[in-house]
């Protein structure tokens, strides 16, 4: 069963700066700053202006990211839930 579909803002709505292993993100629509750990920045990039489910995101970032977990889809759904709560992705 496919889960909800999410979408993130276009890349120009965000400023990214790498700070060691983390990424500082300024989200212009909300004026909020976030400090994100991988794979959150990669998820945002995969969903920028391009709606997708947890499975879609996994497929899109698979080349650059290996989610080492037994249930990658459940882990991705959890990350999407966190990014939704932070206001960085929304239901499409």
């Amino acid at each position: 069963m496919a889960g909800p579909t999410f979408v993130a803002d276009a890349p120009d709505a965000l400023s990214h700066v790498a700070l060691e292993s983390l990424t500082a993100i300024y989200h212009a629509p909300s004026g909020m700053t976030h400090l994100l750990a991988p794979p959150a920045p990669q998820i945002l990039a995969a969903l920028a202006n391009r709606p997708g489910t947890a499975e879609d995101v996994l497929a899109r970032i698979a080349e650059s990211f290996d989610l080492e977990t037994e249930d990658a889809a459940a882990a991705m759904s959890a990350r999407l839930g966190e990014l939704e709560a932070a206001g960085l992705v929304r239901r499409a």
Partner: protein, 287 residues
């Protein structure tokens, strides 16, 4: 207002009005060498009685101005100078839009700035005042003004607020540089010290940040230096800024640039001499 003083401090100008003569006379003495603003002041501070009769009966100084905090408690008239200083801080904290304000003390050497930031009581003011008497140029003990366009720190050399045990360290300063001893303030005993003459003469000269330190004074700590990563420094400086959120993207850009190019360390120290030695070592590695 019955009594008034106009002041320029670094890139900012203030008009301070008071219902009583004493705070203005004390301010005028403390800030005697500071220039007058060329035009209209950026910020207004008003020291007024809470109720009209409180100008004469148990006089009580409420801090008003362009920006006010509704729950700020009034101070007794004996602490009127502190009220003026708090009023200037408040206008900056709430109204400054041109610079990213970091709650930090700053000193300069060879065109490079050292930022000392951290919690209240960590010893920032005392360290900056000590360094300012020992070959560094004092830029400020309260706010570092980071220009989002140039990345430079602009001096804001207000009177230094010495607290409690620190007062004794500056007993030998020229008497005209010292304000009255203010006892029983919300932060204990306070005495203001006018910055050294070169800090005032060169207050229009900004400096490029070279080192960020988080000092911690504690007699029980062994002296220690610990590198602080860019992400931790970034988070701590967003918390140390009064207007980071208000500035939006320029604030984000300025702060991320600062933390990515500027080395940052936490230092624990037990005395001023110990801190000066730690700072010397870190400074020579950073510049």
């Amino acid at each position: 207002m019955r009594h008034r003083l106009d002041l320029t401090i670094g890139p900012v100008s203030f008009r301070i009005g008071s219902a009583w003569p004493q705070p203005i006379a004390q301010l005028a003495a403390l800030y005697a060498p500071y220039p007058k603003p060329a035009g209209i002041a950026d910020f207004t501070v008003r020291l007024e009685p809470e109720k009209p009769w409180r100008r004469l009966v148990r006089p009580s100084v409420a801090i008003h101005g362009d920006y006010t905090l509704p729950d700020a408690a009034p101070l007794p008239l004996a602490q009127g100078l502190l009220a003026a200083e708090m009023g200037m801080n408040l206008q900056m904290a709430l109204g400054q839009k041109r610079f990213l304000l970091l709650h930090a003390a700053t000193v300069e050497r060879d065109g490079h700035a050292l930022l000392l930031t951290g919690h209240s009581g960590a010893g920032k003011s005392t360290l900056a005042a000590m360094l300012g008497e020992a070959g560094w140029r004092f830029l400020g003990d309260e706010f570092a003004l980071l220009d989002p366009v140039t990345g430079l720190i602009h001096p804001f050399p207000r009177a230094i607020s010495l607290k409690n045990q620190s007062l004794a360290l500056f007993d030998s300063a020229a008497p005209d540089r010292l304000g009255p001893v203010l006892k029983g303030t919300p932060k204990g005993t306070i005495r203001h010290l006018r910055p050294p003459a070169d800090a005032i003469a060169r207050m229009a000269e900004p400096a490029r940040p070279a080192l960020i330190l988080f000092p911690r004074f504690n007699r029980d700590f062994e002296p220690e230096t610990r590198p602080v990563g860019a992400a931790e420094t970034f988070v701590r400086l967003t918390q140390a800024s009064t207007n980071y959120v208000a500035l939006g993207r320029p604030g984000f850009d300025a702060l991320t640039r600062l933390v990515t190019v500027t080395p940052s360390f936490a230092i624990d120290y037990r005395s001023g001499e110990e801190a000066a030695a730690l700072i010397d070592t870190l400074w020579s590695n950073a510049t």
